[in-house]
């Protein structure tokens, strides 16, 4: 699997992502610069976490207009796989590649702790390492992770099975008490219609090494390798 990681000014989790990908693929991901206009031959494009353009104005708004996003959009339209984590998720919604938007956390504070995610849809390139209903742990670290969308969009996401993960407890219970940031329906991650673009707020890439507290995030990357290995 050839993966490329886009670096915007202010991106700060590209190294974490590269380490996680390297662990799964055994090869190094290509670092892409936000001003690039063409993508090399890739199976996966990743928009990693960070504070692109300082998160000024709205998180991800300025990065969504970067030159490289035109190429990322064409890549996605041609059926390419795109993963956006945290700031990457925000950029994908701002670019219109995923529905909805991410607002300030309901508690108005930056949050940094582990959360549990319940897998809502199995069998995609991103979730084939899990079964629906599985629960895994992932660190979250964001100030703007409160997922919102209008009612129609939320119903469509539900109806079409486009919700990837919801915030839950360790047993898979999903309710207001397991919602860290106010997200509609506890949504932590969503797919595009064709299931090839995934955005999520927490950081599976930071939990792929027992030394760092676990390998709960590994199935995401191992699954991608199985699905996309050329």
């Amino acid at each position: 699997m050839r993966a490329g990681i886009v670096v915007f000014p202010g991106t700060n989790r590209e190294r974490d992502m590269a380490i996680a990908l390297q662990g799964a693929t055994g090869t190094q991901a290509v670092m892409l610069w936000h001003r690039d206009t063409v993508l090399p031959a890739l199976d996966l494009v990743v928009l990693p976490g960070g504070f692109s353009h300082g998160d000024y104005l709205r998180c991800g708004a300025m990065a969504a207009h970067s030159p490289i996003m035109t190429a990322v959009r064409s890549f996605a339209e041609a059926g390419g796989h795109v993963l956006g984590v945290c700031n990457g998720f925000q950029i994908l919604t701002e670019a219109g590649l995923l529905p909805g938007a991410l607002l300030r956390n309901a508690g108005l504070r930056f949050l940094s702790h582990d959360c549990h995610l319940r897998v809502e849809r199995e069998g995609t390139a991103f979730t084939r390492g899990w079964s629906a209903g599985d629960v895994f742990r992932a660190p979250l670290a964001h100030g703007d992770g409160n997922y919102v969308a209008d009612r129609e969009t939320l119903e469509r996401l539900d109806g079409d099975g486009l919700v990837a993960f919801r915030y839950s407890d360790a047993a898979g219970r999903v309710d207001a008490g397991t919602n860290p940031n106010g997200s509609a329906g506890n949504i932590a991650g969503v797919f595009s219609r064709n299931l090839r673009v995934l955005g999520l707020m927490p950081h599976p890439e930071d939990l792929v090494d027992p030394l760092m507290g676990g390998i709960d995030g590994k199935p995401l990357f191992d699954g991608l390798v199985q699905a996309l290995a050329a």
């Binding site: 300082g54 792929v208 760092m212």
Partner: protein, 579 residues
């Protein structure tokens, strides 16, 4: 309206009559306004350490694993495999009282620059915080702003905040302490220093533009300029962590080349201290052309530019044949880049602006004749021994009370606002061990990091308290299985002109020195913050508790061997030492 430079103005700038006489002697004439500004900041307590220097010299600073001790931007120690840990702690106390969010945020920004200016990628931040009484309504606002500010800056630049400490005491009501520590990693053969060299080499300015931020910080007396000028000069600097992140990446990229001869961040008294220190350390002269300085505001004077404390700026001396390489890198990262001067053989700093020489000062005397005070000390009166303690509530209630007290309660509400995992190398997060553990990417090496001080002990007996703070850091490191290597410190005390405060300072430092020697645990960097006082309602001033905060660093050859503090069911508890 420009005031005449005289002794009265010098006093407003914080220079004593004797110090001003010294300026006259060095210059052989009355200084210009810009020259007076340069002298006053270089000879301020903050830059010259005039009250503390004599004592700091007594601290042990060497060991076989120490590569650079105090004197550089940060301390450097050998952690094996050709790598070095570079670290330092610094205070931003007064700014954090005036504007807690920005004060704390820019404190983090400043200490980060001290570390990456030496070639290190920052891999961890810590902090040591002291606030007033929780019952004081102002405390809530200050705590909230400080914690948000530390997170706001550290989270954005992508450096994990992995540890710290917090105490509450009424002595900090009007003077919170915000001490920030950064640890970075560099290859031992790629460490960058600040001594300028190479007559004719270009002096280059990079980073954010210069504005009228924080000119003369707190020492600026209000009478000196008309009100309009005052209003244009906010004393509060606003940080831009986004630009800092770009600056980190751009500097580290440039450091892969051979372009840099010397580099220094612009900290307190920005352009003045960085240019004076770089040229002074290299025993060369420096000519600055302020017309070339990137400016954010119109009509800035030489005085304002030399004293501005705008954030996120660096000064470098480059090889002349590499300026284009450097410029291309800074353009890529969308940062300002300007050649603003050259090194000379005159031994003077010469500042030109709009065709006029605004300052011309011999650097030798400016450094050598900086004031050095042996201020009177008075011994700290011994506290009465506590005597037998009665037990009015019973052990269970006492325990609950203790665990729930502000100094012992959980700090999760703080560290939950700090990104502690970015980088993917955090082995033990806040709360998981006596010291935070961060692995050095690409190796098995683990660094153990902690900040410690118990000001109550220092207040009771400064010598023992100073020694105990060092020992506490050492214990927290060893408790994780790490080998303690060295410390940085941040000596926060009251007004040094009060003999009893100076007595606390002297005793605490001697206690620290004793512990450092005994534990083979040298001081490799540090910072002193004096004049920390709370004004009481009756107008009198109360000094803070003496607070020599210690930042300790230790190493584990294999991060996987680190021990945390979570108890497992099948383990025995063993108590070591006398109770």
């Amino acid at each position: 309206m420009i005031r005449q430079v005289d002794q009265a103005l010098a006093r407003e700038f914080g220079l004593t009559p004797d110090e001003y006489q010294n300026v006259l002697a060095i210059m052989g004439r009355a200084p210009s306004l810009t020259e007076l500004g340069i002298f006053s900041v270089m000879w301020s307590e903050h830059c010259s350490y005039k009250s503390s220097r004599a004592f700091l010299r007594t601290l042990p600073t060497t060991a076989p694993w120490v590569i650079h001790g105090p004197g550089e931007n940060a301390g450097v120690v050998d952690i094996g495999e050709g790598l070095a840990a570079i670290f330092k702690m610094e205070s931003h106390n007064h700014p954090s009282f005036i504007e807690p969010y920005q004060g704390a945020a820019t404190g983090v920004g400043g200490i980060l620059r001290d570390v990456f200016t030496m070639g290190a990628r920052p891999i961890a931040n810590l902090n040591a915080l002291r606030f007033g009484s929780p019952d004081n309504p102002a405390t809530r606002r200050i705590v909230d702003g400080v914690v948000r500010g530390i997170g706001g800056y550290g989270n954005c630049v992508g450096v994990p905040t992995v540890g710290g400490e917090v105490n509450f005491h009424p002595a900090y009501d009007g003077n919170p302490l915000v001490n920030a520590m950064t640890v970075g990693i560099a290859r031992q053969d790629r460490i960058f220093l600040s001594a300028a060299a190479g007559i004719g080499n270009p002096v280059v300015y990079v980073g954010s533009r210069t504005g009228r931020d924080g000119i003369h910080g707190a020492t600026m007396a209000s009478a000196e300029f008309d009100e309009d000028a005052q209003a244009k000069r906010p004393t509060v600097q606003v940080g831009d962590p986004f630009v800092e992140k770009l600056l980190i990446e751009a500097c580290l990229e440039l450091m892969q080349t051979d372009a840099i001869v010397a580099i220094q961040d612009m900290g307190a008294a920005g352009l003045t201290s960085s240019s004076v220190e770089m040229a002074g350390k290299g025993a060369v002269g420096i000519d600055l052309d302020l017309d070339a300085v990137p400016q954010r505001e119109r009509g800035m004077t030489a005085y304002e530019m030399m004293l501005s404390e705008s954030q996120e700026r660096m000064l470098m001396v480059l090889r002349p044949d590499r300026t284009e390489v450097a410029q291309a890198i800074f353009e890529k990262w969308e940062l300002d880049f300007a050649i603003i001067g050259t090194l000379t053989d005159t031994g003077h700093i010469v500042v030109r602006h709009k065709g006029r020489v605004e300052a011309d000062i011999p650097l030798g005397p400016l450094a050598e004749q900086a004031p050095l005070y042996h201020r009177p000390t008075a011994p700290t009166p011994l506290r009465e021994p506590l005597g037998p303690v009665s037990d009015p509530v019973g052990i269970e209630a006492a325990l609950v009370r203790l665990v729930g007290s502000p100094d012992c309660a959980s700090r999760a509400w703080i560290w939950d606002q700090y990104d502690s995992t970015v980088g993917g190398q955090t082995v033990r997060r806040p709360g998981a061990a006596d010291a935070a553990i961060v692995r050095v990417e690409g190796t098995r090496i683990g660094l153990a990091l902690t900040t410690d001080c118990t000001p109550r002990y220092v207040a009771a007996d400064a010598r023992t308290g100073g020694a105990q703070a060092v020992a506490e850091a050492w214990r927290n490191l060893t408790a994780t299985g790490a080998r303690p290597l060295a410390i940085t410190d941040n000596l926060n005390f009251g007004n040094p002109e009060k003999p009893e405060v100076m007595g606390q300072f002297a005793d605490a430092v001697s206690g620290m020195a004793e512990a450092c020697l005994a534990l083979d645990f040298p001081v490799v960097s540090g910072n002193v913050s004096l004049y920390n006082e709370t004004r009481a309602p009756d107008g009198s001033t109360v000094s803070i508790l003496p607070t020599p905060a210690i930042g300790g660093l230790g190493v584990l050859e294999d991060a996987a061997t680190a021990v945390g503090l979570a108890l497992a069911p099948d383990l025995d508890l063993v108590l070591i030492g006398e109770t």
